[in-house]
């Protein structure tokens, strides 16, 4: 049962990931990215990481995808399809490179001796929270600093350049 669910979610993730990189219409590609993110959230639930699944839906689907769709609509007038500007480039070398990379990664991880079953119980949210405020407290705080820096930087980059008012 759980294997069937995992296989279905994996198929959903793979098919919509291919849509993300091949669809010509960028808006549809962004919506397929939403499907990928929901599929990965489902896989997190299968792997008994419920908290991460909710964070994934909240942050990725709720915030990042909305932001991406807004950016696509804001720049829509610049992406008018013209015949001399193809939507993608160097397809064959890129396909060869990514297939080669996939083969290398698969060959590196497939023959390793993996355990047949989980060696421990699922990680509880309490244990995750405890890790975040004890062992990992420094990276946790650094991430919040990065958030502030990204927010200030994004506002500074994207704000319109208004001419400075002359001093009275």
């Amino acid at each position: 049962m759980i294997v069937a669910v995992a296989v279905a979610l994996a198929a959903l993730v793979l098919v919509s990931a291919v849509w993300v990189v091949t669809l010509k219409n960028l808006f549809r590609a962004a919506l397929s990215l939403g499907l990928v993110l929901l599929g990965v959230a489902g896989l997190f639930i299968v792997l008994e990481a419920e908290f991460l699944a909710f964070v994934q839906i909240l942050v990725y689907v709720g915030a990042i995808l909305t932001l991406v769709v807004f950016a696509i609509m804001l720049t829509a007038k610049l992406q008018s399809p013209s015949p001399d500007v193809p939507a993608s480039r160097q397809r064959l070398p890129a396909a060869a490179a990514s297939l080669g990379l996939f083969a290398i990664l698969a060959a590196a991880t497939w023959p390793l001796g993996w355990p047949k079953a989980p060696s421990a119980d699922a990680v509880s949210v309490a244990a995750l929270g405890q890790q975040l405020v004890t062992t990992l407290v420094l990276p946790f705080e650094v991430v919040s600093l990065v958030f502030v820096a990204a927010m200030v930087g994004a506002i500074a980059i994207a704000a319109p350049r208004t001419p400075r008012a002359p001093a009275p």
């Binding site: 991406v68 890129a94 421990a120």
Partner: protein, 100 residues
């Protein structure tokens, strides 16, 4: 048979599809979408192996990946908005101001 190698194949495939997207997309937002695919593949790997080896820190690192992906998307989209305003283009290979 262990379920780990097959699951790893899924995240490898997600990663390779993301690389393909970065190499082929000309639209800057399309490249950003492909980067999100790659970050998701990494987070999926962390959660999978953390589940099988019983490590809570793996989930914490997947959490950090999601947080940093949010920062990356915000800054990247700000750059694209600014680019579309100043250079009147959203195609990554049209921006060649710094190319000699």
């Amino acid at each position: 048979m262990s379920p780990i190698p097959a699951s790893l194949l899924l995240s490898h495939a997600l990663f390779a599809i993301g690389i393909y997207g970065i190499l082929t997309r000309r639209h800057a937002i399309g490249i950003l979408l492909a980067v999100e695919l790659i970050l998701n593949a990494a987070a999926l790997n962390f959660v999978l192996l953390g589940r099988f080896f019983g490590q809570a820190q793996a989930q914490a690192f997947a959490l950090f990946i999601i947080a940093l992906a949010a920062c990356e998307a915000v800054v990247g989209l700000a750059i694209i908005i600014s680019l579309s305003r100043n250079a009147q283009t959203v195609f990554a290979d049209h921006v060649r101001l710094l190319r000699g």
